[in-house]
Amino acid sequence: MPAPSLSLPARVAVRRRAPLPGLGLSLGLGLAWLGVVVLLPLAALAVRAAGLGPAGWLHALRDPRVRAALELSFSASLLAALIASLAGALVAWVVVRYRFPGRRLLDALVDLPFALPTAVAGISLTALYSANGWIGRWLAPYGIKVAYTPTGIVIALVFIGIPFAVRTLQPVLETLGREPEEAAASLGAGRFTTLRRVVLPELLPALLTGFALAFARAVGEYGSVIFIAGNLPYKTEIAPLLITIRLEEYDYDGAIAIAALLLVASFVCLLAINLVAARVTHGGRDD
């Protein structure tokens, strides 16, 4: 819908006489709600984590079971975010650059992991990849076990991560003009050189952002993983699951220590994303 175009002086005059209403109300309510629903609970965790003291932290982190769970969570999430980024780049490229029947359907499907509840995804992936499942039965003869192994965890995390990779890359690909590529081609660059030296640098911030989002989500993911993981301590037990186990054992300090580490990881990811965004904005390509 076309916006009515006001000339600049008229707009300035309007703004002076009748500014938009509701700054105090909307900002006040928004902040209050954010504070009560999100910040207060997180503050409780931060305060309790600080209260653990060096001895409490050492005790929690020396536990080999905790270390195994954290190692598994971080390594599986890294691998899954990497795979999701590659697969997501492929899907985004095909959906944006090529025209073929079913393209829009393919595009719409990408959002499925956002909409499908994690527990549903979890039991479904487990059934698919168990030894007699639709996919698992084709892998079993080759001795490939997916369900109840770290491989299964990675597959669940790739499922969760793919839309993040596609949806951050897609808008950048769409706004990427043809001119730089045409210029490179006209200067004699081969297709591969053009992709590597012209397209890839443009996409890199979005690729990194998608990777960080997928990783942040994967580290904390619970529902889709716990069914397919098998949850053997030291082997296939992820960190979020260990938090719930510690809670059930009334080991609050143990749960708080793991949770605080996961929270720090989330903050680092958000910070990295904002830094990438700030650098892109600084370069004059704010989108």
Partner: protein, 286 residues
């Protein structure tokens, strides 16, 4: 996005294009379509009668009721506060706006289990508010209020995140015009703002609904898993699955998968009919 002329020098050769398209289709078939098909296949594996019986079972109905109860509180509350927040962020300049935007995104990045634990630390037996709650004979943890609070936490960004880029794109010109013609705040909102953002709002509400009804990790920590009392649909699925009643688990799961499909279909339809209604190129995933 316009149709390209044939024989474009930038286009890959036909064989390579076909290969890439086939690879992308295969990736999405194996990774995304197969799990969805599995849910529906397993849910109806023993016939529609067994499927219906699993949904009619009293515990399943109690879980459905609790899930709808939670959604009925969370969705309107989130929609209203999402609107207010989006209005403040897109129509005014103030210090700390970037920080506020990051804070709105925070629940996307925080593990649902961590969110649940935070609520335990506030309202649990040794929590900050434990004495006050005991004195007033209030129960939040292992009861409905805890489930609602956990769901509010994880769905916090959904509506705001859908509206902010859309309202930024649209700008305030139409609203300023309405004000200059003497419209009151409510008239301006009802006649100008709401019609402009209604499809984006609808999609935000749908995403929020799917997540609110499907939330598992955070609710699992605070619910206490009391069958028939504090089990939501996803928790009920877990119980059935762990009792090796996988047909019933998938039957209940098919309800939530249906909701997810509706969400996708509505979005598909919105993008086809009202391409300007969703801030597509600026949207960040939820």
């Amino acid at each position: 996005m316009t149709e390209r002329a044939p024989r474009d020098p930038l286009d890959a050769p036909a064989w390579l294009r076909g290969l890439l398209i086939a690879a992308a289709v295969l990736v999405l078939l194996v990774l995304l379509v197969a799990p969805l098909a599995m849910v529906l296949g397993a849910a109806f594996a023993k016939g529609i009668g067994v499927w219906w019986a699993a949904l009619r079972e009293p515990d399943a109905r109690a879980a459905l009721r609790l899930t709808l109860f939670t959604a009925a509180i969370v969705i309107p509350v989130n929609a209203v506060f999402g609107l207010f927040t989006a209005w403040a962020v897109t129509r005014f300049e103030f210090r700390g706006k970037r920080v506020l935007l990051s804070l709105i995104d925070l629940p996307f990045a925080v593990s649902p289990v961590v969110a649940g634990l935070c609520l335990v630390l506030l309202f649990g037996a040794h929590g900050w508010f434990a004495d006050w709650l005991a004195a007033h004979d209030l129960k939040i943890l292992f009861a409905r209020p805890g489930i609602v609070l956990a769901t509010l936490f994880v769905t916090f960004p959904f509506v705001a995140r859908e509206l902010i880029p859309l309202m930024q794109q649209q700008g305030a010109d139409e609203e300023l015009a309405a004000r200059s013609l003497g419209a009151g705040a409510w008239t301006m909102f009802r006649k100008v703002t709401l019609p402009n953002i209604k499809w984006g709002l609808l999609y935000g509400v749908l995403l929020c609904s799917a997540r609110a009804m499907g939330e598992f990790g955070a609710v699992s920590v605070v619910s206490g898993h009391i069958r028939g009392l504090t089990n939501t649909l996803p928790l009920h699925i877990e119980i059935l699955y762990n009792e090796f009643d996988s047909t019933a688990a998938f039957a209940v799961a098919s309800l939530l998968a249906g909701l997810a499909l509706v969400t996708l279909v509505v979005k598909f339809w919105l993008e086809a009919r009202h391409p300007e209604a969703l801030a597509r190129t600026h949207r960040r995933p939820s």
